[in-house]
Symmetry: C2
Subunit: 258 residues, 2 copies
């Protein structure tokens, strides 16, 4: 039988740490850890080579998911059994499944591949959008996601959940200097803008070695980013002034791979 | 100067009503009212012929948006000036702008147009997805949205906000019996499914008089809905098993209008 340390108090320091990691990007950075919750996401992470420092399981989950928990136990440095009420306190979901892992945030250093097709997000602020973009990127066979470092955190619980784990599987490249990294990448760059005189997306022939840039939900791309790109636009009818950022990114990725 | 009734107590019955309308679809149905918040959405609704029973304005908004509030005042049956702290209690947003209208839920009876191109959502459960689909539908010039009546409420604050008002502008047709309404509509019907042997979306030539059906986020379309449709699929690479429902709908609408 596996060796689990029992936690029954909400004041336990590990419980406090998990709450901090769930709620604060600064805490994730400081500790070099992030939280994943749910069997599916934890299995995904384990199968993609992520190491777990801690496995936390509720009593109910222990009774229900025995063999799956054995698998995760093998990947974790330390394992803890929590009373259901303590688990509920740290869960980030409405109906907790009862399984959380803390994962080492070893940022894999991915290189931009000169033949790759990328989606690049500048200062995306909504983790649900980031997650949806990653989920779509993986589904459509995009080679990776390039992010400016001032956007929302790809390791935030909401981002990871909305991505259905794609953020743990896809190459994610976070750039301190987004514009110069892309400018020096050798990729053909396309900026998605709202300007009606920009080239229509349907008139672009994407070829290997390209990236499409999508900007912040409220403000779009910066002038510096647009300056190094071919501006393209999704022609719109009706009175809508713009598309949701994840939708715009998805339509562009669809055309890149069509 | 306009005639506003002052409200300074959180126990005021109108304040309680607004909270109920924000949080409960049953309450919206019972009272035949829904809530819209923010200057932009309220102006949009007024310009689209919606009548307001109540206009509620915070003291700060009154000082800041005088002329805009005059415009809304003309459209409203009754007007109220709220202390900022009372307004904060009923606001559904993090940074309230200070303007709320209660709108009569007169469901306009739209007919399905035989030459139209529609997106049809069966039991969509996430208001953010419904809103994003409406926003995209409007932007791409889709003729309307057909909804089963068991999904999330298009008049919920989250749906309206995510749609950027498109749900107030687009024809929205809510069907008690989704499958028979569509089956009898005369439209060419396409069911978006995950079956790898379904026809690829890129092989479909959409013509006037069609609808694409998207199912529930977790369970997809019902067998009854699929049975009356041509099954089509968005071919996927990688390990993703599905797309976010709003993203799938957006890609399909893009192809319908491409």
């Amino acid at each position: 039988m596996s060796d689990f340390t029992k936690i029954t108090s909400r004041d336990n320091s590990l419980i406090k740490l998990v709450s901090q990691l769930n709620n604060s990007g600064r805490s994730r950075k400081e500790h070099g850890l992030f939280v994943i919750e749910g069997l599916r996401l934890c299995r995904d992470a384990a199968e993609n080579g992520f190491g777990f420092t801690h496995l936390l399981v509720s009593q109910t989950a222990m009774d229900k998911y025995g063999s799956d928990i054995d698998f995760l136990y093998e990947k974790a440095e330390r394992a803890y059994l929590l009373s259901d009420s303590v688990f509920d306190k740290i869960s980030d979901t409405k109906s907790p499944q009862g399984i959380i892992c803390l994962v080492k945030k070893e940022e894999k250093q991915y290189e931009i591949c000169k033949k790759g097709r990328y989606i690049a997000l500048e200062n995306i602020s909504d983790p649900s959008n980031l997650g949806a973009v990653a989920r779509t990127a993986e589904a459509l066979g995009i080679d990776g996601i390039i992010l400016s470092d001032n956007g929302c955190d790809p390791f935030a619980p909401k981002s990871l959940r909305a991505s259905m784990g794609a953020l743990l599987r896809l190459p994610v490249i976070i750039c301190e200097d987004f514009v110069s990294v892309l400018g020096g990448s050798g990729l053909e760059l396309y900026a998605c803008v709202l300007a009606p005189d920009a080239r229509s997306l349907t008139d672009v022939s994407f070829s290997d070695g390209c990236a499409a840039l999508i900007g912040n939900e409220a403000n779009g791309l910066t002038d510096e980013a647009i300056a190094i790109c071919n501006p393209i636009t999704i022609k719109m009818a009706g009175r809508a002034e713009s598309l949701n950022a994840a939708v715009a990114a998805s339509i562009v990725m669809w055309e890149m791979q069509r």
